[in-house]
Amino acid sequence: MARHRCPECGYEYDEVSGDDHEGYAPGTKFSDLPEDFVCPDCAVIYKEDFVTEQRSAT
């Protein structure tokens, strides 16, 4: 389970918690997000430009 951060605005997609407003259930892998996923907060960063951070715990 990794966290993926938008390098523009700091939005974080955490695979553990998903994103309940956007409709991504907890546990949804970042790679399973739609191909046209853009940052839900700033909308200018495409999926492949997110920065991946591995979680140390859990």
Binding site: E22, Y24, A43, V44
Partner: protein
């Protein structure tokens, strides 16, 4: 006046005062102009005063822009975090929200309760529409922010001109697709504003609906579920406008229609001039390149910037959509409009004049350099544009 201290990377300490700090209150006061007209009407008995805000938008503001000129100052990057945190600036954007409601309700009440000639009645509806066009601008500034409070305020203020879908459409639609042929909110070279409006107004709504429907589907809901944010804002609009009709009578129906359409027209005008003809390149992976500063037209004219929460520093806004209005920057060598937005709107209403001024500027941009393949061009207009601007186009001979 409040100042900020910061230390530059070099170790040098700086002290910065934002000279525009209090001037930003103009963005709060400008939308309540309908009341100025009503007050002058009440004092003089002349209904012509009701149209004063039309005069200030279409005549006085462009002249003031021209007289007062441009401002290229940027806050030093080292103080930007403090500037962003300073509550003063965001409180202004909160304060203006109830004022937008007051402007519409006040103008409607005035139109319904005074004996007005027909031209003044509909003139006042247009005046209210201009104020509510500014409500879209307020909703724009608020809607880009990350806090739930500001986003909710955005939805509330966008309900005034019945434009609740804008919050979804603008960020997730327009910012994603800006300056591409697919974006209904980016105008094309050779496309008149009137033709653009017919593509933009329905196109933007449908895109917003589609984005929201997809979100609701992921949540396992139908598009008509109560979580639909477009419907939520729409219900607020309906309550407000139905309330006005119930309170002030049937004459409010044509009044509100004119008001709504004229408010939308303000946004259409802004969208038309903000990205005219600009095109992002497609990369090898099929994605468009990230929106660059050269993909927006800008204006540094002080007066129009001060009443529009810095909207005209549009390149920096598209590069960094979450950045607050007080910190938006000017950069050298950006596409520049010949005037502030209000003057540019007027120009765009006369298409041949707009083409005459803007096509030349567009083709002369460093990243375009006369290459029509680097331009977002109206399908079917290419041949005509090629022959008209032959002398401005890059040739293959070199």
């Amino acid at each position: 006046m409040k100042g900020y201290t910061a230390t530059l990377k070099s170790g040098e300490a700086i002290y910065y005062i934002d000279r525009k700090r209090w001037l930003w209150t103009l963005s709060v006061l400008y939308p309540v102009q309908p009341f100025l007209g009503m007050w002058l009407h009440a004092r003089t008995g002349q209904p012509g005063w009701l149209l004063l805000p039309l005069l200030s938008g279409y005549v006085i503001a462009p002249i003031l822009d021209w007289l007062v000129g441009e401002d290229e100052n940027n806050p030093p990057e080292a103080v930007v975090p403090q500037l962003e945190k300073d509550r003063f600036y965001r409180v202004l954007t909160y304060l203006v929200v109830p004022l937008h409601y007051a402007s519409l309700i006040g103008a409607a009440w005035w139109a319904a309760t005074r004996e007005l000639p027909l031209w003044a009645f509909f003139g006042l509806a247009m005046v209210a529409g201009i104020a509510s066009g500014l409500a879209i601008n307020t909703g724009h500034e608020l809607g880009h922010k990350k806090s739930a409070f500001e986003r909710n305020l955005a939805k509330i203020v966008l309900a005034v001109p019945f434009y609740g879908h804008f919050w979804i459409e603008h960020s997730r639609g327009h910012h994603r697709d800006v300056s591409t042929p697919e974006d209904p909110a980016s105008s094309r070279m050779g496309e008149s504003i009137y033709r653009f409006a017919l593509r933009e107004i329905p196109g933007a709504f449908l895109r917003a609906w589609h984005i929201e429907k997809e979100r609701l589907e992921r949540l396992g809901h139908s598009a008509w579920h109560r979580d639909n944010q477009i419907l939520q804002s729409g219900i607020l609009s309906l309550a407000l406008q139905l309330g006005i009709v119930i309170a002030f009578g049937w004459s409010m129906i044509p009044f509100l229609v004119v008001h709504n359409v004229f408010a939308w027209w303000q946004l259409t005008s802004a969208n038309y001039i903000e990205h005219y003809g600009l095109l992002r390149r497609k990369e090898a992976n099929g994605r468009y390149e990230r929106c660059q500063p050269q993909h927006s037209w800008n204006s540094n004219h002080i007066i129009s910037n001060l009443v529009l929460f810095h909207l005209q520093r549009h390149s920096d806004h598209h590069a960094h959509p979450v950045r607050r209005y007080q910190s938006l920057r000017h950069f050298d060598d950006l596409p520049q409009l010949p005037s502030g937005y209000f003057g540019a709107y007027l120009l765009s209403y006369v298409p041949w004049l707009w083409y005459r001024v803007m096509d030349r500027r567009l083709l002369a941009l460093p990243h375009v350099a006369g290459d029509l393949d680097r331009v977002n061009i109206q399908p079917g207009k290419r041949a005509r544009i090629e022959s008209r601007y032959r002398h401005l186009l890059a040739t293959d001979e070199t």
